[in-house]
């Protein structure tokens, strides 16, 4: 899909900011502080491309996904979908826009309305956007169920009659219903067990090829990300710290945080233990983020300049941008990156994906 990256981007995010106001007071609400959940995030996604957004819990990756879909209103910045600004659309225009951008949620047990049959759930996007009549919507629902590997007669059932993996397939079918161009996948497999994860990830890939979908794939599981993504963006405390194509990022991570993330993949080989970069402490609060580089409190390579001056995203190579003052001088932990691949569990899971992919014919 590297040729797709050259065409016009489906999504352009520029300087996206989301601050949550912390308020106090009963009648007259006073803002006593801001949680800086997302700070100056910019990236773009090409048609047919998968951009993975990775980071620890609470780093703002899910918030970014919701801002793009305007399930939340951004504090600042611009989100252009196929060249059209959506950050300032009014309510009706936004509703019309929604059919082109969809979302798949993390928790398949919470993302389907328990009071609606699967058929009603799948017809909902079409009904809302007044596409077709009842009969054609029902037909489309049955078709969607087949596309995601369920049976057409499942349309009459209620969500609680399905397993987690099946429900996630229904969630995917709902996202596909109105033929969107972009799907935000918000940790779509992290609530599923590993054998089901592989099936769902491969389903997502098949659908991408079949319908030319673009994905923003939000995840914290680096094995899944390595399998599905074309490019990877790493977030830390609301900011992008590194963005590169998958191969570059996994082989030559430049930002100390990316290096630490890759090193944190468990390695059962005791010989490699000494090489490991361990992150100390917890993620600082986005309510009071550290000065300068937000990562300096946990960075093994931090120097005086890091706490004073905020690093900008700089181009390290074409398409590879890093927000670190010293990335040129930090030793490249190539051994660690390879160690990540050599790790048995990680490799076993990659193998599981491949196996499931060959076992299940596309579609």
């Amino acid at each position: 899909m590297s040729d797709a990256a050259n065409s016009a981007p489906v999504l352009q995010v520029d300087g996206l900011v989301k601050h949550f106001a912390v308020t106090r007071g009963l009648i007259r609400r006073k803002t006593i502080g801001l949680v800086r959940a997302v700070e100056d995030v910019s990236f773009e996604i090409a048609r047919g491309e998968t951009l993975a957004l990775v980071g620890e819990s609470g780093c703002g990756k899910s918030t970014t996904g919701r801002l793009i879909l305007r399930l939340m209103d951004p504090t600042a910045g611009s989100v252009r979908f196929k060249g059209k600004e959506i950050a300032d659309l009014d309510k009706d225009a936004l509703r019309r826009m929604r059919r082109h951008m969809q979302i798949i949620f993390q928790d398949p047990y919470a993302s389907l309305n328990p009071r609606m049959t699967v058929g009603e759930i799948l017809a909902e996007p079409l009904r809302v956007h007044e596409i077709g009549d009842d009969a054609s919507r029902a037909a489309r629902g049955r078709e969607l169920l087949e596309i995601v590997g369920l049976l057409p007669e499942h349309a009459r059932r209620y969500p609680h009659q399905f397993s987690g993996g099946q429900r996630q397939r229904i969630g995917i079918a709902r996202a596909l219903a109105a033929n969107p161009d972009l799907i935000v996948c918000d940790e779509p497999v992290s609530a599923l067990d590993v054998s089901i994860q592989a099936q769902i990830v491969n389903l997502l890939q098949n659908l991408q090829q079949r319908f030319g979908l673009s994905y923003l794939f939000i995840a914290h599981d680096l094995a899944v990300v390595k399998h599905i993504s074309d490019r990877v963006a790493v977030m830390y405390l609301g900011k992008l710290v590194e963005i590169a194509d998958k191969k570059t990022l996994y082989d030559r991570p430049l930002h100390p945080y990316t290096q630490a993330l890759l090193a944190a993949i468990p390695k059962p080989d005791p010989a490699l233990r000494t090489k490991r970069v361990m992150l100390q402490g917890d993620v600082p609060s986005p309510f009071r983020p550290p000065t300068g580089c937000r990562f300096h409190t946990r960075c093994p390579h931090a120097q005086a300049r890091c706490s004073a001056e905020e690093p900008l995203l700089r181009e390290a190579a074409p398409g590879h941008r890093v927000a670190c003052h010293f990335f040129e001088t930090i030793p490249a932990p190539t051994i660690l990156a390879r160690a990540g691949l050599a790790n048995g569990k990680f490799a076993a899971r990659l193998a599981a994906f491949e196996a499931a992919k060959t076992a299940r014919a596309p579609g």
């Binding site: 993390q106 389907l112 309305n113 328990p114 059932r157 209620y158 609680h160 993996g165």
Partner: protein, 295 residues
């Protein structure tokens, strides 16, 4: 869930979702106390509905030659101080008392449920709605009844208003709690992402998913509402003589408690039976509908 379950396994085949009313009734019938309470309550409702056909005497016909007679074969519950047949009056009184409770619960439940759900959906209204509800919560129903009776005159209307005001705040709190729980579920966000309008989100996504909680709360509340209604009647703020209403009948019989104790005790017993049956049934409904208690 294993990989095999993906192709074959279904959580439960037989029951179709939360609409499984038949399943609910079956489980309810298995609980003997609930079945008995349900039977008693249906009998009472039936008797109240068909009071004009069942009552052996005119409840307002006074016969001064037969005052304060003890229960016997001709007057099952005896007669009161003006010689009216107490059995007939209890039937008509039950009618009024049940009607008060029902109207209180339905109107109060509707207003309270709506307030609670709107507060949960539109968080900027939350503070205002809940403060309003707190203010309502601060007034005892008896006091509201007194105030309404003082303004518009005593009568069934005054009692209904008091009962509604007594029901609204509690229902609003319960509905808000349930709705906030539903709001946190991803399917609400999914609906929004699909483009579903606010009205539809509130009704088809939010309300339908917290209605069983509200319903259970109202069935539990029904007994208490009847009791408050009877208390207001007893204090003379409700139905005015000669209208039959259980609370008021108990109040009138109080003067003759030593000479003819049945005049006060029989309507009181009727209240007791209605409230007990309603509470037991409400408890059983809660047990059956509460998903945490289901196996």
């Amino acid at each position: 869930m294993s990989a095999e379950a993906l192709d074959t396994g279904f959580a439960r085949e037989s029951e179709s979702g939360v609409f499984a009313r038949a399943g609910v009734l079956r489980r309810l019938a298995r609980d003997r106390v609930a079945a008995l309470a349900g039977l008693v309550l249906s009998a009472i409702v039936f008797a109240a509905l068909f009071a004009p056909w069942i009552a052996p005497y005119d409840p307002y016909f006074t016969d001064l030659t037969k005052v304060m007679q003890s229960p016997d074969a001709r007057h099952w519950f005896g007669t009161d101080n003006t010689g009216r047949d107490i059995f007939s009056r209890v039937l008509y009184g039950t009618r009024n008392t049940l009607m008060l409770g029902l109207v209180g619960v339905i109107v109060g439940g509707f207003i309270g449920g709506l307030l609670g759900i709107l507060a949960a959906y539109y968080r900027r209204l939350d503070g205002w709605i809940m403060r309003l509800v707190d203010v309502m919560l601060a007034f005892p129903a008896i006091l509201i009844g007194l105030a309404v009776a003082a303004i518009f005159g005593a009568g069934l209307t005054a009692v209904v208003i008091a009962l509604v005001v007594a029901t609204v705040p509690d229902v609003a709190r319960v509905a808000r709690g349930a709705a906030i729980g539903v709001m946190g579920q991803e399917f609400m966000e999914a609906g929004r992402a699909v483009g579903v309008s606010d009205t539809e989100l509130i009704w088809r996504y939010l309300t339908l998913n917290c209605i069983s909680t509200i319903f259970v709360f109202l069935t539990l509340r029904f007994g208490q509402i009847i009791l408050i209604g009877a208390a207001l009647g007893f204090l003379g703020m409700g139905a005015q003589p000669p209208t039959a209403e259980l609370g008021m009948m108990a109040a009138q019989g109080r003067d003759f408690l030593f000479m003819a104790p049945h005049i006060a005790t029989i309507p009181s017993c009727a209240i007791f039976v209605i409230v007990l049956a309603a509470n037991l049934l409400g408890d059983a409904f809660r047990d059956v509908l509460d998903p945490r208690l289901q196996t």
